[in-house]
């Protein structure tokens, strides 16, 4: 794990001045780590939530961007001491940005605060999922295993090289005698097939919160608005 900022004093000075090239370099170096950190989860405490919180795929972009907007503000650029690892400094900001993002969409109580305010370098991932998350993960693993078992032997081999052995697209394709473009197409087809499989299994359908009653009420409201017949109190 590199220590880009503390080790490069010229970069640190340019970063503190807010130089565009320095900010870009710092952003590119740390952005993937922040994304991984936000997804992995962290501990929070509030009067309602005690335990782990993590940012889902739809809110990841917002929390990640908010993290860097805060970290690159004048105040926090000056606040970084240039001695401790920048990653730990950034993760503290990321936790705070994530809690605000999750609170804004109602996934955390408004009183929630992140724990572990210390500037640690490597925060351990939360060691347990919530029961709902554990159930979701188990369900997903089973679905993916079923999906893979239904692939042709060649498709399965491609998935093995690409996703289990983590080969690049090019290497995975080469192992099967495919060109780079053919490997790219094969991977896109595989992902599409997974989504189609999930849809066929009914796994993408709406949950119980989307009730017919709500739809009916909204349809009635729409009709009333169009006809201008809603009575006032």
């Amino acid at each position: 794990m590199d220590a880009l900022l503390p080790d490069d004093r010229a970069l640190l000075d340019a970063f503190r001045r807010g130089g565009r090239a320095a900010l870009t370099r710092v952003y590119r170096a740390y952005s993937p780590r922040v994304l991984a950190y936000l997804s992995r989860g962290f501990r929070v405490r509030s009067d309602r939530d005690n335990g782990a919180a993590r940012v889902g795929p739809l809110d990841l972009d917002a929390a990640h961007q908010e993290t860097f907007v805060r970290a690159f503000s004048d105040r926090l650029r000056q606040a970084y001491d240039g001695v401790r690892p920048f990653e730990g400094f950034l993760f503290v900001i990321a936790r705070s940005a994530a809690v605000d993002t999750l609170r804004s969409i109602g996934k955390l109580a408004r009183s929630s605060v992140p724990l572990d305010e210390a500037h640690e370098v490597h925060t351990l991932p939360v060691d347990r999922c919530s029961p709902e998350e554990a159930a979701l993960e188990n369900e997903l693993r089973a679905l993916v295993a079923t999906f893979l078992s239904r692939l042709s032997p060649e498709e399965r081999r491609f998935a093995q090289f690409r996703f289990v052995e983590r080969c690049s697209q090019e290497l995975a394709g080469a192992a099967l005698g495919l060109s780079r473009q053919e490997a790219r197409t094969r991977e896109a087809r595989l992902k599409l097939a997974l989504a189609e499989f999930l849809a066929a299994e009914g796994w993408l359908e709406k949950g119980p919160e989307s009730t017919h009653a709500r739809r009916a009420l909204l349809a009635m409201l729409l009709l009333s608005l169009l006809q201008g017949v809603v009575s006032c109190t």
Partner: protein
Amino acid sequence: MHVNPIAIATYEGARLTDAIQHARACPQCRRPVERVLLALRALEVGTPWTPTEVETTAASVAGLDSVLRSARPIRRWPTVAGLGIALAAAAALFLVVKGPPEFVERGTGSGGAVLRMFCATDPQALRELPSGQSCPAGGKLAFAAGASTGAAFAALQLSGPDGVRLLGPFPVSGRPGAEAPLDTTPQLDVPGRVDVTAAFASTPDAALAALRGERVAGSVVVRQTVLVEGAR
């Protein structure tokens, strides 16, 4: 236009970012799109709690411009011109704040955005609820909103005796005078006063920021009250 949750499996870069941003604010798309993204993680990385390479690249690229725009180089002393602009902006703000509100036909709003509330006590009884009026406990609220161009999303907050509920952000398709329903019908369970705050802004994130009380250019915040009365 809604996101096709199956097609999103093949999206990359800006196309993926746009689809995710839509799904985030779209109650209809949110769940299926999120589930496809989690499944792709399980396939590619082995766990739904680690983003894929495609997600990471898309989010990193998408965020850079906004982050750089928000970060300003240090200036030790404000220039005279800068000070002049700041004073002019402050004066303009003062004039805007002191000016009379624009006329709106129905609901409550500040000209650029209108929020109308409705009380539904059973599936067949729906009535408009001016701010401060009552709706029985057990009833549901419905909302119709309209906003001028530029405020395409609305986020709602209900603060009442049973706590704070955040709803949305929702896309706003109506205009002032031709409001359209928002896709939510929260139930009113506990008697007491419920303060309804709606923030309208150009993006889902901006609407949420305005709802949190942050200054967001072009946003409109509307406040109304509902009195929840006894049991039905």
